[in-house]
């Protein structure tokens, strides 16, 4: 049984602590340009949406890779990119329907979310719980529970 990142955009203030934490974990520097999670803002900041890889069960990126550089991490279920195998062909960046796999000019490989080996730093850094790390079955149920609570108030 794996865990998933649960993202609640309504709680996101767009502070980018997650982008700094991600880049620090993976590159040793605070550098949002190299973060694997991104916040996108819309309408003068009214909406701020954190976005990253959701670790698809049938992962398009994994299947598209011609050199098998992307494999499933048995401990976390994350689809990990092996930088020493990746040839930087970028086919996976085309295959991913969500744009969650990206080319990194520094390493000359693709990079994507690896759930930090089971201790995702973005979730740890998020000051508003817009990003949490929960049981993978709970990602939808939590929202269902919130709506159920609203319904309950009127029933």
């Amino acid at each position: 049984m794996y865990k998933s990142l649960l993202i609640d955009p309504a709680k996101c203030t767009s502070c980018l602590q997650c982008e700094m934490a991600c880049s620090y974990e993976h590159t040793g520097a605070f550098n949002p340009a190299r973060s694997r999670i991104k916040i996108y803002e819309f309408e003068h900041g009214r909406y701020a949406i954190p976005f990253t890889c959701t670790q698809c069960e049938e992962a398009w990126c994994l299947h598209a890779c011609p050199v098998e550089a992307i494999t499933v991490n048995p401990a976390t279920g994350a689809k990990d990119v092996h930088e020493d195998v990746c040839v930087g062909c970028k086919v996976c960046t085309i295959a991913c329907p969500f744009g969650a796999v990206n080319y990194d000019r520094e390493t000359k490989t693709v990079v994507k979310c690896d759930l930090c080996g089971g201790d995702p730093k973005c979730a740890e850094a998020c000051p508003t719980d817009a990003i949490t790390y929960v049981d993978e079955e709970w990602t939808g149920y939590e929202r269902m529970r919130q709506y159920a609570e609203r319904t309950h108030q009127f029933s």
Binding site: Q17, A29, A33, R46
Partner: protein
């Protein structure tokens, strides 16, 4: 580390760009941002020059903690000589631009000279170009940002720009970044305009590292925990700075109708409760809160205006959310001009961001114009037919737009209150210090605030000292000089780190010391960082004295010194500046004429 150790110097006259190493000796004496840029400014210009001349120098500065995981690490400062004050300008902004500039690899960006034609600066790490801006000149801040992102096909660009107000020299034009964050005060946008520089667009991918990463992350975690539990922080997250309005009303320190009164009957419609109230169409002004870069507080407000409101009912281009009311905007478009229409205030706020103007200075200038109008000194013939009565929301929004576009009576309002009041023969109606208008605190009820206003190096300012606690405890001039001086030094230090003032509700010198010591090489003690703050404050004073200012400029308008507060907890009181000022000079080690003594300069290494 902490610093990028690199300065980007742009000569706009000759169109050249060069990198130079950061002067580390100065970095160790001034930390970064505000202090360090002041040191560079002193070295690079004569304080006597006209603020709008090519000889003025414009510096964008980040601090060693800018772009790190320390909370509120998105700050940068603009340091130059201000046209509003003819004193040193030190305007601090949040948003995301500052961190991006640091990520591009620079601690400081120094702009010199004047471009022969309109240009913008495009920075992609170390690829820097000065680009003709003929297509951008005349555009608003909002259109400029959209144009740059689309033209460069780069949604990650962060933009700081000026609107028409800055191009045309409105004395309190600001530099706006990320649509609704601004280096707001003293007219730094007019300086940018005088250099024919429309915008700076930056993308940085270099990252920032710190000296001792493990210790830094541990310290950040510890100090963030203090912030999480802090009641001041909780209030800012929930209500934003506008929670201040109800407190100031209660205290009787809420400047109303150009400081003729200190309490405003309409404040409940525009305070932190007013923005959450449902109007008769069912519309609620406040939508949510948003943060600047790296900030775990998120005091920023996002609001929208009822589409049926008279300001935008026929203007669909404004049917969208944007930056909402923070306290100073709410004060400057509310009590001080006697207006209680929350959507009119919000729309005027949109216009300030769109056209690049400081809401405090605009609102307080309009307040003086309203007083002149009600006195009969000016009439509809002067004001393009608009009735400038206190309380008229249309006067606010129409004049905000006219000033932003530099049209009609807006050109007079664009002079700022001091010059406008002098023009009409009533200098006593100017509510400010050194040419800069007051923030939303009346110094008859808050004595230390009066001393802070009078002595702030950038003219009237509420952000360069913090004496709220002692002011609330004792409403006389007693015992204000020491906390005023000490908090000025503390804030000067804080402003030099790259962080925001607001965590200071939970963090004191020990917390800033721990973060700096972990992030930067060298041995940083509390004593040393506070001395850096005092050194910065004193150097700013030296700049002003060299620019021709004297102790006579450390004063307040007669209304605050002679006319007693008409109501509130300080009813009958005036500001006791005459008692506080000599004590303050002595605390600072300055002569009775406000000049730092040789001993003081020696002690701070400024001789």
């Amino acid at each position: 580390m902490g610093w990028q150790r690199k300065v980007l110097r742009v000569d706009l006259t000759n169109g050249t760009v060069r990198e130079e190493p950061l002067n580390m000796e100065w970095a160790f004496q001034y930390i970064g941002e505000r202090g360090l840029a002041t040191r560079y400014l002193m070295e690079n210009m004569d304080p006597k020059v006209d603020a709008m001349s090519p000889e003025n120098v414009l510096i964008f500065a980040t601090g060693p903690l800018t772009g790190t995981m320390a909370s509120t690490s998105g700050r940068y400062a603009v340091i130059t000589k201000g046209p509003l004050t003819n004193a040193i300008a030190c305007s601090n902004s949040g948003g995301k631009f500052g961190a991006e500039l640091k990520y591009a690899g620079y601690d400081l960006l120094i702009l010199e000279g004047k471009s022969p034609r309109p240009v913008y600066l495009h920075i992609l790490d170390d690829a820097v170009e000065i680009v003709p801006a003929d297509d951008l000149w005349g555009k608003s801040v909002w259109d400029t940002e959209a144009w740059l992102k689309s033209t460069h096909q780069n949604p990650h660009l962060k933009v700081a720009s000026i609107g028409v107000a800055g191009e045309r020299g409105v004395h309190y034009a600001c530099i706006v970044n990320d649509l609704h964050r601004a280096a707001g005060r003293s007219g730094v946008g007019a300086v940018m305009g005088s250099k024919n520089l429309k915008a700076i667009a930056v993308r940085g991918t270099r990252g920032v590292t710190v000296d001792d990463p493990d210790r830094f992350m541990k310290v950040v975690k510890e100090v963030n925990a203090l912030l999480v539990d802090d009641p001041g922080r909780k209030g800012l997250t929930k209500h934003g700075t506008n929670a201040m309005m109800a407190s100031m009303e209660e205290f009787g320190a809420l400047p109303t109708r150009n400081f003729q009164e200190v309490q405003f009957e309409g404040q409940d419609k525009i305070n932190h409760r007013g923005v959450r109230a449902r109007n008769r169409n069912g519309h609620v002004n406040l939508i949510t809160n948003k943060a600047c870069f790296g900030c775990t507080i998120a005091c920023g407000r996002i609001a929208d205006i009822d589409h049926n409101h008279f300001t935008i009912v026929n203007r669909k281009e404004y049917w969208h959310a944007s930056g909402g009311l923070e306290y100073e905007t709410a004060y400057a478009f509310g009590p001080v001009v006697g207006i209680d229409d929350v959507d009119a205030l919000t729309f005027a706020g949109y216009l300030m961001n769109e056209h690049g103007m400081d809401p405090i200075s605009f609102g307080v200038t309009l307040a003086a114009a309203m007083e002149l109008y009600e006195m009969g000194v000016i009439s509809k013939e002067d004001t393009d037919g608009v009735a400038l009565n206190f309380g008229n929301p249309e006067a606010l929004t129409v004049m905000a737009e006219k000033t932003g576009k530099y049209e009609g009576f807006g050109q007079v309002l664009g002079l700022g209150s001091k010059r406008m009041c002098e023009k009409y023969g009533h200098p006593e109606l100017f509510m400010g210090v050194k040419g800069q208008e007051f923030a939303g605190y009346d110094s008859r009820a808050l004595q230390g605030m009066g001393l802070g206003y009078a002595t702030s190096n950038r003219g009237a300012c509420h952000l360069k000292h913090d004496t709220f606690e002692v002011d609330m405890d004792d409403q006389s001039g007693n015992g204000k000089a020491k906390p005023c001086k000490e908090s000025q030094d503390f804030v000067a230090m804080l402003d030099s780190t790259g962080l925001c003032l607001f965590p200071a509700s939970a963090w004191g010198a020990p917390q800033f010391q721990q973060m700096l010591d972990a992030a930067c090489e060298g041995d940083w003690t509390e004593e040393r960082i506070l001395e850096c703050g005092e050194r910065t404050w004193t150097l700013e004073r030296q700049f002003n004295l060299a620019a021709g200012l004297t102790a006579a400029d450390d004063t307040l308008p007669p209304r605050l010194l002679k006319d007693p507060a008409p109501s509130g907890t300080a009813r009958g009181k005036v500001c006791e500046l005459d008692k506080m000022l000599p004590e303050y000079y002595s605390e600072r080690g300055w002569t009775g004429d406000g000049i730092p003594t040789r001993d003081t300069l020696d002690r701070l290494g400024l001789a």
